[in-house]
């Protein structure tokens, strides 16, 4: 479904060059839910933008359903890390969610249903008429998530979408994502810096090294597919997996420190 091959991205400006990612290769199969963890600044956002066709890689390729990604593919939704800035401040919450649906030429009635459903799902039914700047950071983030799910994408990319919400909301949203992913046939790539979250959510966790970035490890999460905040997180396998990933990341730091 999604194939990333030898992806390298070097940011260039007049004074300097930053090699954000060096050599990334991995595949996602259709309908997979994969999490991407890695230290801050290792190029997670860069990778996501390349996959979303918003940015051209310096070398390497991204292929989606057999086709090379050169621009934003249809049926793909992205929840940006800068959630607050990704909402249109001159549109209400409803307007923000509806805008992509209008472009999809959905009839008004269907748009209304999708807006209501997605807001309900993120627990913001009462805020449809509010403007984004009237909401807290966590609420804005949930609006961005609602907009993405109302779009009914086949591929959903999320860049640290729960960074600004409290622990309880975060747990609810994690369950929401798993639920949506179960209900609709979506391929989800979820970026987080929270190892527990990655293990809880994913079928698979890709661990990125620190810069120069490569895929450090690809961990398959063999937890039962029905997950629950209490039982899953206290499962022995859960603890084992998170310990493994944690030490991988520590390793990554040391190797890159040694390389320097």
């Amino acid at each position: 479904m999604l194939e990333v091959t030898g992806l390298q991205k070097i940011y260039r400006d007049r004074e300097r060059e930053v090699e954000a990612v060096r050599d990334l290769t991995f595949q996602l199969t259709e309908g997979e839910l994969a999490c991407l963890v890695g230290p801050s600044g290792c190029g997670k956002t860069t990778l996501l933008k390349c996959i979303a066709g918003l940015m051209e890689p310096t070398s390497g390729t991204v292929e989606l359903a057999g086709r090379s990604v050169t621009g934003p593919p249809p049926d793909m939704a992205v929840v940006f890390q800068e959630y607050g800035r990704s909402l249109f401040p001159w549109l209400t919450v409803q307007g923000n969610i509806e805008l992509p649906l209008k472009e999809k030429k959905l009839p008004k009635k269907r748009r209304g249903e999708l807006v209501a459903e997605s807001l309900e799902a993120v627990g913001l039914s009462g805020s449809a008429r509010a403007y984004p700047w009237q909401l807290s950071g966590g609420m804005q983030q949930r609006v961005a998530i609602a907009r993405a799910i109302a779009y009914e994408p086949r591929v959903l990319l999320m860049d640290e979408p729960f960074a600004a919400v409290d622990a309880q909301t975060r747990a609810d949203l994690e369950d929401l994502i798993r639920d949506l992913w179960n209900r609709f046939d979506m391929t989800v790539l979820f970026v987080t810096h929270d190892i527990d979250e990655a293990v809880y959510l994913g079928q698979r966790v890709l661990v990125l090294s620190s810069s120069p970035t490569v895929v450090q490890d690809d961990v398959s999460i063999n937890l039962p597919s029905v997950r629950d905040q209490l039982t899953t997180r206290s499962d022995a396998r859960f603890t084992e997996l998170r310990t493994r990933i944690y030490s991988e990341i520590q390793n990554a730091k040391h190797t890159s420190a040694a390389a320097k």
Binding site: K49, L54, P72, M76, V78, F80, P89, W90, W133
Partner: protein, 269 residues
């Protein structure tokens, strides 16, 4: 309940206070003017009471319809044309770096020319008529609109641009929902500057060559030493400016409600 009434009473007091503050300075200035015109006895400094009485005599319904309304109509149409021209060109230039690089030197050149010096030239080229007056108004007030629009369009948040790209928002919807709206604070600032330039140029265009209009009337009064009448013209011009500015403010409050709300929210947070 009591809390509510005291709050609304406080609100009313604030409103009254604001209105009083609004009128305080004008009132003081009028008094100052009065005192100095009485004490100096200068022929050219008509006391305010005389200006007030003359005002009614000069600006009769007929004078208003022959001199004021055509002026205002020219002002507004010139401004409207400049607004459309400036916004449309500004969006095109703001969106295209190549177009910008190509036109930048020319824009700087024309912008540096004070519009009044164009009046004689435009008179020769177009003749002494309404088109020429419109051309004067447009040639002056299009620049702040154009330049502000360019800046506004260039400052569109890249995250919003990416959001639009990823959700496939393009074409007209992209232009109106993303580009125009996000540049609207700068566009409005440009329009406001343009409006005050338009008033100045309306008067100047009528002073050079005209046989009607507010600017013409003021100049005629001055030439025939009808000093109180001249003053009424100046007062009328000032009032026109105030009214237009208030109207503009009302439109702006509506158009930029989101912007002011957002700024207030950021200040509070």
């Amino acid at each position: 309940m009591t809390a509510y009434t005291t709050r609304s009473a406080g609100f009313a007091r604030k409103a009254v206070g604001r209105i009083a503050a609004w009128f305080l300075l004008p009132l003081l200035l009028v008094l100052l003017w009065w005192a100095s015109s009485l004490s100096s006895g200068n022929y050219y400094m008509t006391p305010p009471n005389e200006i007030a009485t003359t005002f009614g005599e000069v600006w009769t319904a007929e004078a208003v319809s022959t001199d004021v309304l055509p002026s205002v109509a020219r002002l507004l149409s010139g401004f409207a044309i400049a607004a459309v021209l400036g916004t449309v060109l500004g969006m095109a230039l703001g969106l295209s770096p190549r177009l910008r690089a190509l036109t930048e030197p020319v824009l700087e050149f024309f912008r540096a020319i004070p519009p009044p010096v164009l009046v004689p030239l435009l008179m020769l080229l177009i003749g002494v008529n309404t088109s020429m007056k419109l051309a004067v108004i447009i040639s002056g007030c299009v620049w702040p609109i154009l330049l502000n629009t360019i800046e506004g369009v260039r400052a569109v948040d890249p995250v919003l641009t990416d959001t639009c790209r990823c959700y496939g928002i393009r074409g007209r919807r992209w232009l109106t929902t993303l580009v125009l709206r996000s540049a609207s604070p700068q566009i409005m600032a440009g329009l406001r500057q343009g409006l005050s330039i338009a008033i100045i140029l309306m008067v100047i265009s009528e002073m050079f060559a005209s046989n009607s209009g507010l600017g013409y009337a003021i100049q005629e009064f001055q030439r025939s030493f009808a000093i109180p009448e001249m003053w009424t013209g100046i007062v009328l011009l000032g009032l026109l400016g105030v009214v237009l500015s208030v109207l503009f403010g009302l439109v702006e409050r509506r158009v930029l409600a989101w912007y002011h709300g957002m700024r207030a929210a950021h200040r509070a947070g």
